[in-house]
């Protein structure tokens, strides 16, 4: 039985009495976990430390420890002055694209998930099968034709070029369908109808409140998905003022590596990268339950 409540379904477990050699195995297990944890966390630690160094400190001081000179605030000031603070424009763009695309995708997923879960219209199985199959279509294969289609409608180099394709979330529809089937009892819908509520009112007043945990999960997944997208904005945006932060920082890196003629802004790249992951890390810590919510339905039986 899988639940999609955003929490792995916990089965209560008593004290573990597995085999006799618990003590030794446990120390070994803990050492193993700690080594793994260090490996996974150390680049993030490095990013934090690097954000506090100026360019010469990045070259000269130890990679995983602070330089004598604490330059974080100078770097942040640098982000404001570099190209008239274009970095903050990028960050704003990232927020705009992620929330517009993510909220839109979530609304479409909620409606479609409810429609597939609670109605038995003709052709439902076939349409849903196609949507499921589309999860296996690599989205990157669509970037080039999407670029060409958007350019025919004059939408290249506008925010719409990123937002509109981001509304597509077949996986979100699948999640919402599975969750709706479980969380919204048919009897409740029947009762609402008998009381004279129309289909739309039934959906808003009966079903929607029950779907809250899944809505947060789908919203989180689609917002983060759009925030992380790279190929699409790289292809459809060329105006520096429209770039999301991922593409912008990559551009700075390319220029800094080119060296000749390109300005070297290593300290701004590290600080910019650090600031751009802060919202994600914070949401990760505070919304952990929901981050994992989309994963627990991985077990289809």
């Amino acid at each position: 039985m899988t639940t999609v409540t955003g929490m792995p379904s916990r089965t209560p477990r008593g004290p573990r009495g597995r085999s006799g050699r618990e003590g030794g195995r446990r120390i070994g297990s803990h050492v193993f976990l700690i080594i793994l944890a260090i490996y996974f966390v150390i680049p993030i630690w490095w990013l934090f430390v690097a954000a506090t160094k100026n360019t010469s400190g990045l070259f000269s001081s130890p990679a995983f420890w602070f330089d004598d000179h604490f330059a974080l605030f100078e770097n942040i000031a640098g982000l404001f002055s570099q190209q008239n603070g274009i970095y903050w424009t990028w960050l704003g763009n990232s927020f705009l694209y992620a929330f517009a695309g993510g909220i839109g995708a979530t609304i479409l997923s909620i409606l479609a998930g409810y429609g597939f879960a609670k109605y038995r219209f003709r052709g439902r199985g076939a349409v849903f099968g196609i949507i499921l199959g589309s999860i296996m279509v690599p989205l990157t294969a669509l970037v080039i034709p999407t670029f060409m289609l958007l350019s025919q409608y004059g939408l290249i180099n506008t925010p719409w070029a990123v937002i509109l394709p981001s509304l597509l979330s077949p996986f979100g529809v699948y999640l919402m369908r599975v969750y709706t089937q479980d969380a919204v009892p048919d009897e409740m819908l029947e009762a609402a109808r008998i009381d004279g509520a129309g289909e739309i009112r039934t959906f808003f007043q009966v079903a929607l409140p029950l779907l809250r945990p899944a809505i947060v999960t789908v919203l989180l997944l689609s917002v983060v998905g759009t925030w992380n997208n790279f190929f699409l904005p790289l292809a459809v945006l060329t105006d520096p003022n429209l770039l999301p932060v991922t593409v912008g920082l990559n551009r700075w890196t390319a220029l800094s590596n080119a060296g000749a003629g390109g300005e070297q802004v290593w300290n701004l790249i590290t600080t910019g990268a650090f600031i751009s992951v802060l919202p994600l890390i914070l949401s990760f810590l505070f919304l952990q339950r929901y981050w994992q919510g989309g994963l627990t339905i991985g077990s289809i039986k």
Partner: protein
Amino acid sequence: MTIQTTAAPPPTATRSGRDARKPRGSRLERRRQRWGWLFVSPFLVVFAAFLVFPLFYAFGMSLFTSTLATGTKFTGIDNYLKAFTDPLFLEGLLRVGAYALVMIPAQLLVALVAALVLDSLTTWVSKLSRLLIFAPYAIPVVIGALMWSFLYSPRFGPATTLFDLVGLDAPSFLAPDTIFGSLVNIVTWQWSGYYMVVIYAALRSIDPSIYEAARIDGANGFQTATRIKVPMISSSMVMVITFALIGTLQFFTEPVVLRNIAQGAIDAAYTPNMYAYSLAFSYSQFNYASTIAFALGILVFAGSYLFLFLTRKQSGLK
């Protein structure tokens, strides 16, 4: 292909994913079921506009060739014949194939072992480790690749300092013969935690009384893990491998970011996606770029479909 969810089927509905039985009852009831179309239609519009239509469009584009001399003319499958004899495309395909063969087992192994260890512990150390191992999933792929490119760099990275201490030359992580391992490391770092959480969630949903029975039968911890736990979570493993396969064959972001610093080791056609990108945006060969993109799309779809078909017994997909 239908997927049965574990949802308790409503009394009148058949199992989800199947074509439902003809709605019983009155014309009124049948009319009510049409509301379903209303709910799914907004999504279907987007689905048609940004998935179905671009796919057909790419296929259409791939059937034409345009040159300055002759203009655009219909060339049928010529572009596909060209693609599948194009060494740049074939090398890219072989390369992502090799990445899939190394990267997916690496990620799966780390994820599975970590999940099994976590499942056998309930201490605060294990809870914290679980969070930290999952953390890279919250870092955008571009930023993750940027971070590692700094760490690999001979100028900024820690390797130079470390090897200086013992008086050796640091290995280069960005040379043509080491870039493969460097990229495998980035992807493993980025995704293993995510897969671990998927597998861990599946492990937590196993009824622990089975372990009790195994213990009475004299199974030790290792046997319980390999003979009971792993078979019982095979469906989530199949999901993980499928997602990892789809992701790996589309390999794009990490090599593009690393290319900033390792021009010599990563060329513009390093992966099929990079090749399609450079054909379209550096050479404006949109017809041929569409061919490559569409061919890759078909291969990924067929590959993942085939994998799901071969593992349908383990995953419960019918």
